[in-house]
């Protein structure tokens, strides 16, 4: 009776499995397509912008200042006659690079702290988290401002300042996930197997943190892009004349009445990038989680 019972339930299930396998072959989800396209364009622009731009983004040309978009200058020129398209492309490289490095820094630092704190619990956890919460109490941008004053306003200063400013939120999320995971029976199973704490963390806890981390990292990428723009806007970012989307947006302010394209194009770039990242983040999370596969 054991045999035939198992067979009947198994056979119904294997057809279910086949259906799921077939579904996996389907086209990617629409959010993956739109998000992927937007981010693809951004990355391509950043790569090209780092190597080649139609004009020199730094070259001043007072005869051509505040020229409206035309065949010669597709997106017009700014108050110093610099080509907006070239500056956007060069700025994309800087902004993307800063954001990627910042998010990487915050995720690595935050994950390490969160894993350690959540797995150790007790006093270690309390002290780390008290410190963490104190940092969280400051708005990220304020913390970054303070840190920038210490490390100095340049590209790497921004990365370090923003990276540190965003670490506490990663640590919080990872710790929370670890706390709920470590009560699950598969962690106990791993310990009963004789696995060391380190192996258990690396093999069972860390991979299960990836889904929330992906979502957090993508939304953070957007925030960092914004924060970097805001810092540049406040004049504490990448020092001029090097273009970033933030200082371009900042620089457009006095001319908003006469040269609307100066503000619109950098702003549009920031918005579209954020949209793309969020869509892609959702898609990546679904893809990484085996439970979500085939359920769409």
């Amino acid at each position: 009776m054991n045999g035939d019972g198992a067979m009947s339930s198994d056979s119904t299930l294997s057809t279910g499995g086949a259906v799921k396998k077939a579904r996996r072959m389907k086209l990617p989800a629409p959010n993956a397509i739109v998000g992927g396209t937007l981010i693809g364009i951004l990355l391509a622009t950043a790569c090209i912008g780092a190597l080649w731009t139609p004009y020199d983004p730094l070259k001043l040309s007072f005869r051509e200042k505040l020229v409206a978009p035309s065949a010669l200058h597709w997106l017009g020129t700014d108050e110093f006659g610099r080509d907006v398209l070239s500056r956007l492309m060069a700025g994309a490289a800087t902004s993307v690079w800063i954001s990627i490095l910042t998010v990487t820094l915050a995720v690595i630092a935050g994950t390490t702290i969160g894993l350690f704190s959540g797995y150790m619990r007790g006093w270690t956890d309390r002290i780390i988290m008290a410190f963490n919460d104190a940092l969280l109490a400051f708005p990220g941008i304020l913390l970054a401002l303070g840190l920038l004053a210490v490390v100095g306003a340049n590209k790497y200063g921004i990365i370090v300042a923003l990276g540190i400013a965003y670490t506490p939120s990663v640590a919080r999320v990872v710790r929370g996930t670890v706390l709920s995971l470590r009560e699950r029976e598969f962690i106990a199973a791993s310990r009963v197997m004789g696995n060391s704490e380190g192996f258990t963390m690396a093999r069972h806890i860390l991979p299960n943190c990836i889904a929330p981390l992906t979502v957090l990292a993508t939304s953070m990428f957007g925030y960092v892009l914004l924060a970097e723009s805001a810092l540049s806007f406040l004049g504490l970012g990448v020092p001029p004349p090097a273009p970033t989307w933030g200082n371009m947006l900042a620089g457009s302010r006095p001319y908003i009445g006469q040269a609307v394209w100066l503000g619109i194009f950098p702003g549009l770039c920031i918005s579209l990038t954020l949209l793309g990242i969020n869509l892609l983040g959702d898609a990546v999370r679904d893809r990484l989680d085996p439970r979500m596969r085939g359920s769409r």
């Binding site: 009776m1 019972g5 198992a6 198994d10 299930l13 106990a188 696995n195 085996p290």
Partner: protein, 554 residues
């Protein structure tokens, strides 16, 4: 059953479909409930029993469509009722008790206010009369301090107590029909029985008919005069309880009956000199709640437990919730650090030397209760089962692969399962994987913590049978922890009964079951049915009576 009386509830040809997929979840179901009668609907998960019963209240989930059939309550068509009439019927004429006592009471509302709600809505009484009624009812459901209960919150009561309060709130309105959807499934065996007895007593006193929905055929047979058996949306059989049990007609009913745990003949184990695992005076303490500046009181979960497990022996540990049986399993498995005592493996204390510890670690495995949380969701079945082999010295990758395939075949999940993820499997299949993972290293000692209590009845029987088969084949010793004496009766060689962190009785299975000495053991036994086969292929249930049975827990 008196057929001259009009039925209180008459469900005829009820068919429910899921809106989107068109799948039939309740198919052409007809049954009747007469005034004052207790009728049981039995079926496993997915049988449509809950949907059919909820339809009686007019509660159909939005995704489900009524395809055909009628539900008449007291001669009125429930489906044609206006929302106002429907609301008047709910509560005042039809009451419902839900499965989960932890969530069916509003946690932020005083008990008194919650009980008053229905009365104030449906009965024209002033506050003092309502209060008197509520106090009387709370006393009848066995609350020690009804006055105090009025101003208490639900979290201050245990699960069993909450279910009593829930029952009180429903019975206050003296409904003509009570729908009880798995009312005691979430409770442990002893409490389960007390709550059921109370329900029967209260409904009898008020002449309330009961529609009892449950997966537990034994419980349904004990309390119901008629049984409706449902399987995948169909009623496969209905009739008087004795007839269904003694002469089951439908194969599914027979399957359900044969899935009820039954005792196998006692085994003779060869005498061994040293027990494989021996536990001496094990003490486990949990620190109290800690704040920044204060330390809570230490709670002692185990008070010096000593157990010997012989090679090849299955020792069952039984007890209600809070008896410390799970803590015992966890501390023997090394998950909880004991405050005192000693664990010896093959005669060597494991705490003393590194080699003895590793010998034990590699030879002691555990099967957990919840198959949904004991498997890492990000690993495939193959990876899960192979993981314990990582620590086995001198095994080539080819050996490992062969072993995994062999074990998967042993648990009946041979072909193509290795590539799948746990979420693609059913609960029973997951538990098979958990068993495979536990035995893949060929351990000599396995701790099974409630391994089948999360499973459906027929799946439970299959998994138990598999476990038994593997135990005989590989000869590992087992500490089998369970609150369900029925299951224990089937698998155990020896039984240990625990209460409040102490062993109250232990002995060979047949002695414990046939001649229990301790009062608590008798109480536990009274909560589960005994089974006798009848010549027609059915069974007869008998119930053991505990001495001092009248004494109620308060």
């Amino acid at each position: 059953m008196n057929t001259k009386v009009a039925p209180l509830l008459d469900v005829a040809n009820l068919t429910l479909k899921i809106g989107g997929s068109g799948r039939t979840v309740v198919n052409d179901v007809s049954f009747q409930v007469f005034p004052g009668e207790i009728v049981g609907i039995v079926g496993e998960s997915g049988s449509g029993k809950t949907l059919a019963a909820r339809a009686v209240m007019g509660f159909i989930p939005p995704a489900v469509r009524l395809e055909g059939g009628t539900i008449r309550f007291d001669g009125q068509d429930v489906m044609a009722m206006s929302p106002k009439d429907l609301r008047a019927m709910r509560g005042s004429k039809v009451g419902m008790v839900f499965q989960e006592p932890m969530t069916s009471l509003n946690p932020s509302m005083l008990i008194g206010r919650q009980l008053d709600e229905g009365l104030a809505l449906h009965r024209k009484l002033d506050a003092n009369q309502r209060r008197a009624l509520i106090l009387d009812m709370l006393r009848r459901v066995g609350l020690r301090d009804p006055e105090g209960a009025l101003t208490a919150y639900p979290h201050q009561f245990s699960g069993g107590m909450r279910q009593r309060i829930m029952l009180a709130s429903v019975m206050l309105l003296k409904p003509a029909l009570l729908l009880a959807d798995e009312p005691t499934t979430a409770l442990d065996a002893v409490v389960q029985r007390d709550v059921m007895e109370l329900m029967v007593e209260l409904t009898k006193a008020n002449d309330t008919a009961v529609l009892l929905i449950s997966h537990d055929l034994g419980m349904v047979a004990r309390y119901c005069s008629r049984i409706v058996v449902m399987c995948q949306g169909d009623v496969v059989e209905q009739g008087l309880s004795e007839d269904i049990l003694a002469r089951p007609q439908h194969p599914y009913t027979r399957k359900l009956l044969s899935a009820m745990p039954h005792r196998l003949p006692a085994r003779l184990l060869p005498e061994a000199k040293t027990p494989i695992v021996s536990v001496r005076d094990l003490v486990v303490e949990y620190p109290g709640r800690q704040g920044f500046f204060r330390k809570g009181e230490v709670k002692r979960a185990l008070h010096g437990i000593s157990i010997d497990v012989q090679p090849g022996e299955v020792v069952a540990v039984v007890g209600g919730s809070g008896s410390g049986k799970t803590t015992l399993g966890q501390s023997i498995a090394g998950l909880v650090k004991p405050a005192g005592g000693e664990i010896r493996f093959n005669g060597k204390p494991i705490a003393r030397s590194e080699t003895a510890y590793w010998d034990y670690r590699l030879n002691c495995q555990m099967v957990f209760q919840d198959p949904y949380s004991s498997l890492d969701p990000r690993m495939t079945i193959g990876q899960l089962v192979a993981e314990p082999l990582r620590l086995v010295p001198d095994m080539t990758p080819a050996d490992r692969k062969a072993r995994v395939a062999e074990v998967l075949t042993e648990v009946g999940l041979g072909d193509g399962f290795a590539e799948r993820y746990p979420h693609e499997l059913s609960g029973g299949q997951r538990q098979r994987i958990a068993i495979a993972r536990a035995i893949v290293r060929r351990p000599s000692f396995v701790i099974a913590d409630e391994p089948v209590s999360a499973l459906d009845v027929t799946v439970r029987a299959q998994v138990l049978e598999l476990f038994d088969e593997l135990q005989k084949k590989h000869g590992f010793s087992c500490l089998f922890i369970s609150h369900d004496l029925g299951v224990v009766e089937q698998v155990a060689d020896r039984v240990i009964v625990m209460q409040d962190g102490r062993i109250v009785e232990e002995g060979p299975r047949d002695d414990i079951f046939d001649n229990p000495q301790h009062l608590y053991t008798q109480k536990l036994l009274a909560a589960v049915p005994g089974l006798e086969s009848t010549p027609e292929g059915g069974v007869r249930l008998f119930w053991r009576r505990a001495e001092n049975d009248a004494s109620m827990v308060g």
